[in-house]
């Protein structure tokens, strides 16, 4: 049995390329400002989805804490930018801060050899604590340097990234930046997974004992991938801060549960799938919002239904579903040439 022609990895890459071409060349020329603004936010969330897709789908680490690193990235950016003025430096530092936080938390979790459940609980608690903490910082005494934390109001004065001449970027530029950042993040994840480091990460998800018995210190690999994912979430936070502004909702349970839904619906063990699901579900929520249907179509309720539906009916998610669809279409197209071996699609494909 050879590698099938259509893999989730290839299909995902094709989808990402097509979407990127559309986003970079078609959308800006239309001049639709709403599309530009929401597109930027979607891309920021897309990177957040990638960060969870990477550690959960490939490293087997279920973290409810990606929103924590998302918020930390955003807040670190806002605070640093307000204090040091140079937004580019602030953005880079903020990503490092998020990655360093992930490394610190990861160190305790992985060296303490916490089980999966405790890992989930700890990361969840981290998000909740940060959410609570930031929410109560509305008093004027809560300041870091020149930056007021602003409590539940967030920091509306979050500076926008500057261009080379020191002028704030236009929304169109932020949009392009967000799209490019998402594409680069996707490429980074793909490349990472193709390296031996990435193969070991997948291997320890598959069988941690065997990885250990082969001599791999699995804690180091988990820490590595967890920190990288933390940095990605931080990047998402920085971009989000540039699209809207930072507020405690970045840490909220709603955000982290949405994130989980995206990864499951998109396909656990794929990268492009969660990004697609993120875009589709955000657009779907936005559309629901325009219906003004009140409590009967509460977006959270609908998301819950979507999740239940997928878990029960399509547990593999969107991308693997599309992949087997393409497979079948190709097989039909090629007939009567020898059809693809049945069952091939079922067997533990290493989807990306």
């Amino acid at each position: 049995m050879k590698t099938p022609l259509v893999t989730s990895g290839r299909l995902g890459a094709v989808a990402m390329i097509l979407a990127a071409a559309w986003a970079l060349f078609i959308v800006p020329s239309g001049g639709d400002m709403t599309l530009i603004l929401s597109g930027s936010i979607y891309c920021a969330f897309g990177i957040l989805a990638l960060s969870l897709a990477l550690i959960w789908g490939f490293g087997g680490i279920l973290s409810f804490g990606q929103t924590a690193f998302f918020g930390i990235g955003g807040y670190a950016y806002a605070v640093l930018a307000l204090n040091i003025g140079n937004t580019t430096t602030a953005a880079l530092l903020a990503i490092l801060v998020a990655a360093a936080m992930a490394a610190a938390i990861g160190y305790f979790m992985f060296w303490g050899r916490l089980g999966d459940v405790y890992l989930g609980v700890i990361t969840l608690v981290l998000s909740l604590i940060l959410y609570r903490f930031i929410n109560q910082t509305s008093g004027s005494e809560w300041k870091i340097g020149k930056a007021p934390l602003g409590g539940f109001n967030g920091i509306p004065s979050t500076p926008i990234l500057n261009d080379l001449d020191g002028n704030p970027l236009w929304p169109e530029d932020i949009y392009v930046l967000c799209v490019v950042a998402l594409i680069l993040s996707y490429i980074l994840c793909r490349l990472l997974l193709a390296t031996y480091f990435g193969r070991v990460v997948v291997a320890l998800r598959e069988n941690e004992l065997r990885a250990e018995l082969l001599g791999y210190d699995t804690r180091l690999y988990k820490l590595g991938v967890f920190s990288i994912a933390g940095g990605l979430a931080g990047l998402a936070g920085v971009l989000f801060a540039n699209c809207v502004f930072v507020s405690p909702n970045m840490f909220s349970l709603t955000t982290s549960s949405q994130l989980l839904v995206w990864v499951i619906v998109g396909g656990l063990g794929t990268l492009a799938g969660p990004v697609m699901a993120c875009f589709l579900l955000l657009a779907f929520s936005a559309w629901l919002g325009t219906l003004n249907a009140g409590v009967w179509l509460d977006p959270n309720l609908v998301m819950g239904l979507v999740l239940t539906l997928f878990v029960l009916v399509l547990p593999k998610g969107i991308l693997p579903l599309m992949r087997s669809g393409c497979d079948r279409a190709l097989a039909a197209f090629r007939r009567p040439a020898p059809a693809a071996e049945p069952g091939e699609a079922m067997i533990g494909e290493e989807a990306r």
């Binding site: 049995m1 050879k2 004992l209 065997r210 018995l213 001599g215 210190d217 533990g348």
Partner: protein, 239 residues
Amino acid sequence: MTDYLLEARNLTMRFGGVVAVRDVSLSLREGELHCLIGPNGAGKSTFFRMLSGQYRPTSGEVLFRGQSINGQSSAKIARAGMGIKTQVPSVFNAMTVRENVMLAAVRALPPNLARRRCDEVMKRIGISHLAAEKVGILAHGQRQLVELATVIAPRPALILLDEPAAGMTGEEVEGLGDLLVELARSCSVIVVEHDMSFIRRIARSITVFNQGSVLVEGPADQVLSDQRVRDVYLGREVA
């Protein structure tokens, strides 16, 4: 300093009230092929787990290459040159045979050498034709071979094999016997097996476990003709 590659000194492993291994000592020289036999539940796998760092002995000490490895992680012990094939095949099911072996080789060797070593080992074990297959779809015996390949690929100094012949066809078992004898020329091997004809073919020295303790130890012919061993194995011994 000792001239033993491996020395287990008075190892005991307790699980609550159960004493799975009681005061077992065993020494192994370089290039020795040693067999460990005993009825189900005798403590053979538990003994292996203590050697390879999966369990920390309740008491006693393990010396590997003259150094105490008590309390070290499995990964560290593996890097020091010990490889173990577990009783239930432990492989990366969603990965191909080649990826499995390659992951083992590349831990110990630079990538270009690892690639060569990977091909060499797959060829020697006779799984080259399966290189592109996902391990999860293979038969039990083939998975055993893949695991064996991952164990020997990094060229360990000591190899522990827990029931390597289980699930293999007669032909595969024969090949395995030749392989083990060949391996024992370049490293030390301890094999746990129930298949007595297999044991008879490869063993030079044997330790018999019974209820967590060493029952008999010595040269193969002597041990296998021992009345106590026959008693313990009564009903199992066919030949």
